[in-house]
C-alpha cells in the first residue's frame, strides 16, 4: 500500500491546529475577563504568561 504521507500530514496538522486554536481561545478569553476585572488577582501580570 502507498504511504499516503499527505493524509498523515493532514491528520497531524489538523490536530495541531485544533489544539492550538483552542489554547489561543482560552488565553484570549482569560485576557478579556482579566481586563474587565482590574482588581482581580487573575489580572496580575505574572498570570498572563503564555502557558500559565
Amino acid at each position: 500500500m502507498p504511504d499516503n504521507w499527505g493524509f498523515v500530514l493532514a491528520a497531524y496538522g489538523l490536530a495541531a491546529l485544533v489544539l492550538f486554536a483552542y489554547w489561543r481561545r482560552l488565553i484570549r478569553r482569560e485576557k478579556e475577563l482579566s481586563a474587565s476585572m482590574p482588581g482581580h488577582p487573575m489580572s496580575a501580570p505574572a498570570s498572563r504568561t503564555p502557558l500559565e
Binding site: W5, F7, S36
Partner: protein
C-alpha cells in the same frame, strides 16, 4: 502548577511525535498512513476520560450542588467534544486511503457521531438556559444519561458487524500489537491526557472567573 502542566504537555507531545515517527516502525499492511493511529486512538481515549469526568462531576453536583463540580463537568464536556471531533476528523482522514471512503455508517462511526452530537447538545443546553443554577441542574442530568453511550461506542464493534476494526489494545486476552507500537500509543495517550488536564485546569479557572464577573 497550571504552567508546569502546560510545559509537561508540550514535552509529552514532542515525545509522542518522536515515538510515532522515529521509534514506531512502518506498519507492514497499511504503510506509514497507520501513524495516524497515534493521534486518532489517544484522542478517543481522552474523550472517554473527559466524558467519564462529566459523569462523576454531574453526580457530585446533583448530590451536593457544588458549583466547582459543575464547572469541572462543563469544562470536561467541552474538551470531550473537542477530542471526539478530533477523533472523527482524523478517523475520516485515515479511512479514505485505507477503506476508500471518508465516512461510512458503520456501528462504531455512527455511535461516535451520536456521542459527539449528545455532548454538543449538552453544551447547547447550557447555553440556552439563562439561570445558572437551572442550567447546571439540567446539564448534570444530561451528563449522567449521556455517559451511557460510552460503553455502547466501545462495544459496538463486538455487538454489530462493522467495517471498523475491533480494539487492538483494550480487548479480552491482551494486546496482539508489537510492544513498540503499544508504547508509542501509550506515550501519545499520556501526552494527550496531559493536554486534557492542562486545558481542563485553564477552562475551570475561566468558568470561575466568568461566574465572578457575572455575579
Amino acid at each position: 502548577m497550571t504552567r508546569a502542566l502546560g510545559w509537561l504537555a508540550v514535552v509529552g507531545l514532542v515525545a509522542g511525535l518522536v515515538m510515532g515517527f522515529a521509534v514506531a516502525p512502518r506498519e507492514v499492511t497499511q504503510g506509514n498512513v497507520q501513524r495516524i493511529m497515534y493521534v486518532h486512538v489517544p484522542s478517543v481515549w481522552v474523550a472517554y476520560v473527559a466524558f467519564a469526568v462529566v459523569f462523576v462531576a454531574s453526580i457530585v453536583y446533583l448530590a451536593r450542588r457544588a458549583e466547582g463540580a459543575d464547572h469541572v463537568a462543563h469544562a470536561s464536556a467541552e474538551l470531550g467534544v473537542l477530542f471526539t471531533g478530533l477523533t472523527i476528523a482524523t478517523g475520516s482522514i485515515w479511512g479514505k486511503p485505507t477503506w476508500g471512503a471518508w465516512w461510512t455508517w458503520d456501528a462504531r462511526l455512527t455511535s461516535v457521531a451520536v456521542l459527539f452530537v449528545m455532548y454538543l447538545g449538552y453544551l447547547l443546553l447550557r447555553g440556552m438556559i439563562d439561570e445558572p443554577e437551572r442550567a447546571a441542574r439540567y446539564a448534570a442530568v444530561l451528563g449522567v444519561v449521556a455517559a451511557l453511550n460510552i460503553p455502547l461506542v466501545h462495544f459496538s464493534v463486538y455487538w454489530w458487524r462493522t467495517l471498523h476494526q475491533p480494539p487492538s489494545l483494550m480487548k479480552p486476552g491482551g494486546s496482539s500489537m508489537p510492544r513498540v507500537i503499544v508504547w508509542a500509543l501509550l506515550v501519545n495517550f499520556a501526552a494527550f491526557a496531559l493536554v486534557y488536564l492542562y486545558f481542563l485546569a485553564r477552562r475551570v479557572r475561566l468558568l470561575r472567573l466568568e461566574a465572578e464577573a457575572a455575579a
